[in-house]
Symmetry: C2
Subunit: 424 residues, 2 copies
């Protein structure tokens, strides 16, 4: 296989005709495949459905003397706080256990800063002219949507193999209007980057001008290796505390990709001072989150070790899917030098940078052949990828055979758009 | 028994000494009883714990072709929307089924009006100088807390046996700064008043000056009779629609007092136009609420008829508790003419108006004898009852024997504070 950039125009025309013919054949199959979101597949759901059997008799529902079936304990069941503290390495007193969605906890954390202000805010953010927010990019589209919905000015900071460009971040936080930053520190969405120890230390020790800076730490994939042994991580809460930044950090996690997506349990871990400030405010909104589901998770997941064992079984299901995608890319795309990508070992995505200016076109071609991917640009603030290059692939939902078909189509779409770009 | 107001000072002194002695005896028992919140009792929780057994095998989790265990359907499972539409008498398309707390749906509905504005808002409410809100009083403290937390100017409107004073309400809505109103239309909290047809018609047909007026219709006790046959109610959504007010109405309900308090399912029913406007905004906050719990409820409750049958079993448990309270009041308090109350037949509370200026003192005496009641004033905006008269009694949690002890103490506290007020 020859690199496309080294081909003559004639060779490219020939290649285009061949690839186009193959693509038209694929299109005729009438495939309908969704690779747009990080949804676990059916096999993963079945794997954990035993969870439904752990709470059956009235006496099962009592934990630490608390009847999980009744109102109360807005901060979550003590046993659920202990479980998450075990997983995250922090203290139970720092864990606020919520409902089925960590996204809701993140949105609400920011909404409260807007309406009431955070612990160290001078005034509610809704009373400020400008709120700026640091967005490592490519990043998670739903994070950016939250920032956008509150009218924040989002500042994209490039991702490196070690995490966000810290020189840039340290410069930006000197602006008191910069009120926070999104992070997915382990197996970042979409690139699967793990923040280096040095990056994490620099983040924990930075001195933002805003006294109410929120370091949003979405540890969505904290135990989510699919092709590597579990990689331990330091407790970000105590690290921030060491640097006098204890009230700056808000860590989030959930069991959405451990048990049921959208029917699991979520957590916000932050300083006890923050929780003392936030609890009465949260209590205006809700008497208590679903403690029955919290207890169901406690009984099913038990502790960190037992959770890690379950994650190894998820990995068995996910690994062949990621390999199917990555192997096809290695085989079909790498030699052509028309795209760059990493081989992630955890998380839920493969991130690929196509030839600049071809991401949208590639996904349009995919769609025409029945393969839906995350919209181009979604991984950038405001949905605009300045170089039109980044594509997020979510291999978790389809079965391997369908995935192989889909990625074969995707490879051809990458080739076609690259050839078009190079000129025909 | 003689009325206290007709006693001479000497007779009152004698009575006071006798009641005081009885009270001191009760105090010495060291009782510790919580009648502060409308928490269902243990027997009611056990009654519905079978619900945990309806979803066990992977195939149980699929409904209308949707796997409830995975992400998606932010508006709720179609079957859950149908269930609530059946109970409320509206259309499934008007139902947004949420998480375990209708309070959260109410809070979030108002929070969105603040941050983004409602469908017909000219601007987000956070950008307005003043937002006023109509609060029928006595009312539900948690409603008032929401209003207060957003800095609203709350306007108390007196409750009548037919619902809020409508002459006053119709006058108030002429002010464009009046943006909404709280309502518990059936078995109001705390009085157990059922809004009359005429009140409901006047509410549905009013012409508020604010184009984005929110008629908050907390139908918390829509199927919650404990001492009467089920009382049907008209669909408030179509009634508002008839008067051209379709987008003004937001109805809320939940299964918190049908299945598990705080681990049930909630609903917001509103116009399809409102939902079309709100859905993308809600989707920024959450991918989907817990559909597994929604499906669990659908399978367990089935439909309106089956739900009503379950409510009759709850009534069997609640009736003796309410009767214990009301019978004691009839026996001990009514003849003295020192308090007024109604005999509710549904809902979760008994509301009592003590002699003006004695509510706080009565509850302080209760507390000293180990009986915790809802704080005096809580049933009024800002927690201030201008006449210091209203007391909310929540008889649902304690077993009947404990309740009898508690209400005996309460009666003595009422007597003592009345005698103190009359002068000793």
């Amino acid at each position: 296989m020859r690199k496309y950039t080294e081909m003559t125009r004639e060779e490219r025309l020939e290649e285009y005709a061949a690839v186009k013919a193959a693509y038209e054949g694929q299109k005729a199959c009438g495939l309908k495949l969704d690779m747009s979101r990080g949804k676990p597949g059916r096999e993963q759901l079945d794997l954990v459905t035993d969870m439904a059997n752990v709470l059956l008799q009235p006496e099962d529902f009592v934990s630490d003397g608390i009847d999980s079936r009744n109102y109360g304990n807005v901060e979550g069941l003590p046993a659920a706080r202990r479980l998450f503290a075990d997983i995250l390495g922090c203290r139970p007193e720092q864990c606020f256990v919520g409902g089925s969605a960590s996204l809701q906890l993140m949105y609400d954390a920011i909404a409260r800063a807007y309406t009431y202000g955070a612990l160290h805010s001078e005034r509610p953010w809704s009373k400020l002219d400008t709120v700026r927010w640091i967005c490592p990019a490519p990043g998670y589209d739903r994070h950016f949507k939250i920032s956008q919905s509150f009218g924040m000015e989002m500042i994209a900071v490039p991702m490196t193999p070690d995490g966000p460009d810290m020189d840039r971040v340290e410069e930006l936080v000197k602006d008191p209007a910069v009120k926070g930053m999104w992070n997915v520190p382990k197996y970042s969405n979409p690139e699967g980057v793990v923040y280096s120890d040095e990056t994490i230390r620099r983040l924990a020790s930075m001195q933002p001008a805003a006294p109410d800076f929120m370091l949003m730490w979405d540890n969505a994939y904290c135990v989510h290796e699919f092709d590597a042994p579990f990689r331990p991580f330091d407790d970000i809460l105590s690290l921030c505390e060491q640097y006098g930044n204890g009230d700056m950090i808000y860590e989030f996690a959930s069991t959405s990709k451990i048990t049921f997506p959208g029917a699991g349990v979520s957590v916000m871990a932050t300083s006890e001072a923050n929780l003392a400030y936030l609890k009465p405010i949260i209590n205006v909104q809700i008497i208590s989150y679903d403690k029955v589901n919290q207890l169901r998770h406690v009984k099913y997941l038990q502790d960190r070790e037992h959770t890690l064992a379950l994650m190894r079984r998820h990995a068995e299901i996910l690994r062949p899917k990621f390999r199917a995608v990555l192997d096809a890319l290695d085989r079909e795309i790498a030699p052509l030098e028309i795209a760059e990508y990493r081989r992630p070992v955890g998380g839920y995505f493969v991130s690929l940078n196509a030839m600049p200016g071809t991401a949208k076109r590639t996904l349009q071609l995919c769609k025409e052949a029945g393969v839906t991917m995350t919209g181009a640009g979604a991984t950038y603030p405001y949905g605009v990828d300045p170089n039109d290059t980044n594509i997020r692939i979510a291999p978790s939902l389809p079965p391997v055979e369908e995935l192989e078909q889909a990625v074969a189509i995707f490879c051809n779409c990458l080739k076609l758009s690259a050839l078009e770009k190079l000129g025909l």
